[in-house]
Symmetry: C2
Subunit: 384 residues, 2 copies
């Protein structure tokens, strides 16, 4: 494990403070569940400090280790790959029902599993997706306040800057994360207040227009995305069902809403690769008819893409559409992060699968049937 | 985090192999839950490899970090200390019900919390003990195969060898752990077969005698421990209810059985300190009448001891009595480990609280009432 000595501890601390105060907006007495790559330990330690200072009940970190993940592909029996830790996700669901807040740190190698057997990777992902449902549905329903931030993992940094020495690569990625997360200012919490106000004014304008559909045109793209009935545009800070206004993504530059699952026509080609659970999928091209993807191609990782699309009926329909200005700071870096938290904030994009039930006007407590009748999609996946 | 470079990787690997094959005796298709201090990562990685080689379904490690534990005492509100991660322990219970095997690595600083407010420590321990019930009861009932091993944590090593440099201290502790765990032989699995046979012959002899009571006499000790009706002596390898014969403790030198909860008379003074959840309790002296501890003293940590004894009614009665020959290798090292896994194997000892339902002759599936009628104790704690 890297000693991380070349990452500025003051910035790590600022990111932790921002994540607790603005990101997850932890409330006095709330418990906090943190998932993190084991390399992110210095950040997790500062998160715990700021969480307890904010009045946390108990902070419970769950660490994952890429070497242990890989050893499964190297040594396990074939039957292993249909197994998942359902008991842990059932427990998480119980924690969220008891108002535990959620903080996730991304930072793993975006291509961790790219050399592994796609069949095993696909089966393991599917088993995990099914088992993860109790945790996922409480997050997509927005039951509790949650937040995702990033840690400059060494393997991730090396993918982004293959020509640099590992320490330099990590420093570069750290700087990019701190800049995109707006923690290289003297008052990140204040910066985010202003940024949230700007995103709010954009969604207010879009909600005032009440567009029926969006039309995307570009190289290899001609896509009409119908919007769900009563859709609402959102972005930045958002209020969870437990009444807490949090910032789910740090960074975030997008405004987004719910498309109509049956009113998408045309074709689209992604301008950036997708890293999905350790596999890289490049040059994705999909064709829609009446909201359904009937053709999907990729120059790399097509098998993984196909498995994702075959997860369930809703996996071939859209659950989110998002607008990002070309002037966004992440877009302006010109960097390809191979990580959705960043790359989705560099360009307009769509997401497959489960829609966010909060993206409807008025009462956010719509039933499953009401969401479906307005065109909202449902699926066990949600992939930007 | 220490790079652990001065701990022999071949020995780490042998300990991992032994833990999987002999300790937990992992079966093909079984999932494995590992709890570990984050410093033990090199050992956990080898455990994952050997578990998958043995046919594990999924290996799920849960890491704890002492700095995060301490930050709670430094920064949290007072109300935090009545909180525990019940959702996680409920999940563990569910995992054990689905035949997940359990492996625990000890290695934390035995005095981690000794400078913290004993009231907060006591409350946090109690909240945790109550929440931990679903996991604990499945282990004390011996539903599934489980195993505990040790990692030479740096803070632990420093407590044992305060005059040595940290690396030397860790090397010394590592050697002591490897020797006591019998992994410094060419064939540790074979060594444990022979060792299990020796422990078995001792318990067979004791079971043949069918003693009614044991009488311990020593400096400051005159204690008569009545044994439960139909008690059975056990030691070393033992068969869990799922049919798997495992070695719960590595190392282990004891043979042990269930005392009669109401037939213990006299007084006893411990020859070694007890490290209980980060607090050190020294020179424990307790007096029994009809199995009940009516007086308890300690030269250090008496407040923590009293809180433990007040956990519930059964906490003031015995749940286990164990015999260890003075010739045991751990006893012969002369080292004080401040850790029960080791120190309990250096001398005869007793344990407070919950008895092991397996320590009864014949059908091991006795009901709670049957166990109580034979003199078996029940409690939310079990502390050797």
């Amino acid at each position: 494990m890297s000693p991380n000595d070349h990452i500025d501890p003051a910035k790590i601390d600022k990111l932790a403070h921002l994540a607790i105060r603005t990101g997850v907006a932890l409330q006095t007495g709330q418990n906090l569940l943190i998932t993190a790559p084991i390399e992110a330990l210095p950040l997790v330690r500062r998160l715990a400090v700021h969480a307890y200072e904010a009045g946390a009940g108990l902070v419970t970190p769950l660490f994952s280790d890429p070497e242990i993940t890989l050893s499964r592909y190297q040594y396990a029996n074939d039957t292993s790959f249909d197994t998942a830790a359902g008991w842990l996700y059932d427990g998480m669901g119980e924690a969220f029902d008891a108002n535990t807040a959620r903080l996730a740190i991304v930072g793993d190698d975006p291509m961790l599993l790219s050399e592994e057997d796609p069949n095993k990777v696909g089966r393991a992902n599917k088993a995990n997706s099914i088992a993860y449902k109790p945790a996922r549905e409480r997050i997509t329903r927005f039951d509790v306040n949650w937040n995702i931030i990033a840690w400059p993992g060494t393997a991730w940094a090396k993918r982004m800057f293959p020509d640099l020495l590992i320490d330099e690569a990590q420093s570069r990625l750290a700087s990019a994360i701190f800049a995109a997360s707006r923690v290289d200012h003297s008052d990140p919490v204040g910066e985010w207040k202003a940024h949230n106000a700007a995103l709010r004014s954009r969604s207010d304008w879009l909600n005032g227009q009440d567009f029926h559909a969006l039309h995307f045109v570009g190289p290899n793209t001609d896509l009409t995305v119908g919007l769900a009935d009563g859709h609402e545009w959102m972005g930045g800070a958002s209020k969870a069902k437990n009444g807490v206004t949090c910032n789910p993504n740090i960074p975030s530059e997008e405004v987004f809403t719910t498309p109509h699952a049956y009113e998408v026509q045309g074709h689209v080609r992604s301008t950036k690769p997708l890293s999905h659970q350790g596999s890289l999928i490049e040059d994705i091209e999909v064709r829609f008819q009446d909201g359904h993807i009937f053709e999907a191609r990729a120059s790399r990782g097509e098998e993984v893409l196909t498995k994702v699309l075959d997860s369930d009926e809703g996996a071939r329909r859209l659950g989110e559409v998002a607008l990002v200005p070309h002037s966004s700071p992440i877009s302006q870096t010109g960097l390809l992060f191979y990580n959705t938290l960043f790359d989705e904030n560099a360009a307009c994009h769509i997401a497959l699968g489960q829609c966010y039930s909060k993206c409807f006007r008025g009462d956010s407590d719509l039933s499953k049937d009401e969401i479906a009748s307005r065109g909202g999609n449902s699926s066990m996946i949600h992939i930007d």
